[in-house]
Subunit: 344 residues, 2 copies
């Protein structure tokens, strides 16, 4: 076996609007050394998630921005290829904050071992990982749907949205998904078994959404913002709950947004309908609720009550293209990059 | 005793922006008859409250709009002048949804008897009434300040805001008030004993507010909206709570608001700081919490731990002018109209 090619992708420059290939740089680097008491990892799958766009900006947020020249942050499913830590053996599969790398040294502290016999290892980055828990926490801990209520979620064919709708159904609520294009809308209904799907690209989107929600909206799981929010707002019922999980429609915005000023109308609805808007980052709830999530959603995935979909791009060097495509909504399911074949 | 002049004020036309005198009409009407099993009331004090502005618009909200030609809605402290209902005697003092009238017939169902020996009867319209409970519910049930946290409230010399700050202090939090002009700011600190007050009319208002909140803002009690919200937003701490109780700065807005569009920036903060925005109307919480409010705040008013201020206009016919003045921020304390001297 020859020495493997070791690569990483760094932030070359900060994007203005949608990232381009010029914002990323692929680098060949030496194989990292096994840290004393730590592990050496080979990345099998790299996760691509919308939050990474935020890290590319130099803006105060809940996490530090990536630095220019620094490795892009991200989670992976990795294989232990050398271990100096009791409890980890070569061949173990772990979730790691490896960043965009083919190989990583790890102190072993923030790792989570995966059991390849329990579920496909990629689910640790999707339906049984951070995106899945994000859906679970926002819907069940903030949205709290009651039987018979209507839950609406955008990006409904994505890893978070598809689980939100399926969990809403399991709670006895009606699930309406919003997705881009007829193919995704069909999957939302046929594959993920929502009650209805509405195409946000349709010219009569707002009317279609209203028709799909004859009893109004009780929970709107916000992960896009923008025009979808404007269509949702008049349909919200008194005491509706809005977990704010993401705003992908405005992540690439540059400079102040042009008028009209839509804030007063939103605030008026918040007041007159006693709405709750609650932003959150999934790890706020992890310590208390992750184990219950894994138990209940893991069981539902295992017996087929919950379905998931993955969009796998082959080859580490294609990560920037796959990431840009995801921000444009071109992925269909949890975006992953297959970096190395498992067990090779 | 001659037959008293019986008057009412009706909505003559819907205002565009700030109401004018032309939107109201004073009418002489016959004395109402004592309803079978009901009461006849003489209004002593009429309450003027910002929510009434909303009722003047023909817009769907949590309550029906007033109709053109219909009596303006509102609460009063009234005296029973005739009774056909067991439990009510002539001379009893009651809180009534009388509307803007000097005399009213009542079925007696929605009344609340006041004990003039327990507290001045006007407090039933202010610190121990709906405005007081609005402050209590928003701060304690939504804002939930913890000792050492910073609570900010606008319209801090008003009946709701002044109580919000005093309740925050009783919870061990730091209270910062926003008010218009140096006289009101002085009262916020000296009379209502807030830790600091900031004049929103100052050209360096945002800088002054930041200086008054060196540890950021944990609870912002929203009752104005507009420019004050823009100054508060960057100061909010992670997990800050924003009870949305009123938006007086935008009640008189006509047509769509000009740009820039401030909604994306607000939503970004909601997401990145895990903020909670929660609109509410006080009566959502009344059944469960009004008795506890009356007990605790009543005791604190009685022993001087909580202070209040009233702005009384004499003469029923001056109600429209006093109401317009209140919307412009010219009142100083709970706005009341003395309709008839008590016990005359």
């Amino acid at each position: 076996m020859s020495e493997p090619a070791v690569k990483q992708i760094v932030l070359a420059s900060r994007p203005k609007g949608l990232p381009t290939h010029e914002n990323f740089r692929l680098q060949d680097v030496p194989m990292p050394e096994l840290p004393q008491g730590g592990l050496l990892l080979r990345v099998l799958y790299l996760s691509l998630d919308p939050y990474m766009r935020g890290r590319m900006d130099d803006r105060k947020s809940y996490a530090k921005p990536a630095s220019i020249g620094g490795v892009m942050p991200g989670e992976s499913v990795s294989e232990v290829i050398a271990s100096d830590q009791a409890g980890y053996a070569v061949g173990d599969i772990v979730l790691a904050h490896s960043g965009w790398r083919t190989h990583a040294a790890s102190a072993g502290a923030a790792l989570c071992k995966l059991d390849p016999a329990a579920a496909p290892i990629t689910t640790g980055l999707g339906v049984l990982g951070m995106p899945g828990f994000t859906a679970y926490a926002g819907l069940n801990l903030i949205g709290k749907p009651k039987p018979g209520e209507t839950v609406v979620v955008a990006a409904a064919s994505g890893p978070v949205g598809s689980l939100v709708g399926q969990l809403a159904k399991l709670s006895g609520a009606r699930a309406v998904g919003i997705a881009g294009g007829s193919e995704k809308c069909r999957a939302v209904v046929e594959e993920f078994r929502f009650d209805a799907a509405v195409d946000h690209r349709a010219s009569d989107f707002a009317e279609k959404l209203a028709a799909a929600c004859p009893n109004g909206i009780d929970v709107y799981f916000e992960n896009v913002g923008g025009a979808v929010w404007q269509a949702v707002l008049p349909l919200l019922n008194p005491f509706a709950r809005v977990p704010v999980c993401g705003l992908i429609a405005q992540y690439n915005a540059t400079g102040p947004a042009p008028g009209p000023n839509l804030l007063p109308a939103t605030m008026r609805e918040v007041l007159s309908k006693s709405l709750t808007l609650r932003g959150y980052i999934n790890y706020e709830f992890a310590a208390e609720h992750f184990a219950a999530f894994l138990r209940t959603v893991g069981a539902a995935v295992a017996d087929g009550r919950i379905r998931y979909r993955e969009d796998v791009t082959d080859g580490f060097e294609n990560a920037p293209a796959a990431f840009i495509g995801m921000l444009e909504g071109r992925n269909f399911g949890k975006a992953l990059v297959r970096v190395a074949p498992s067990g090779s």
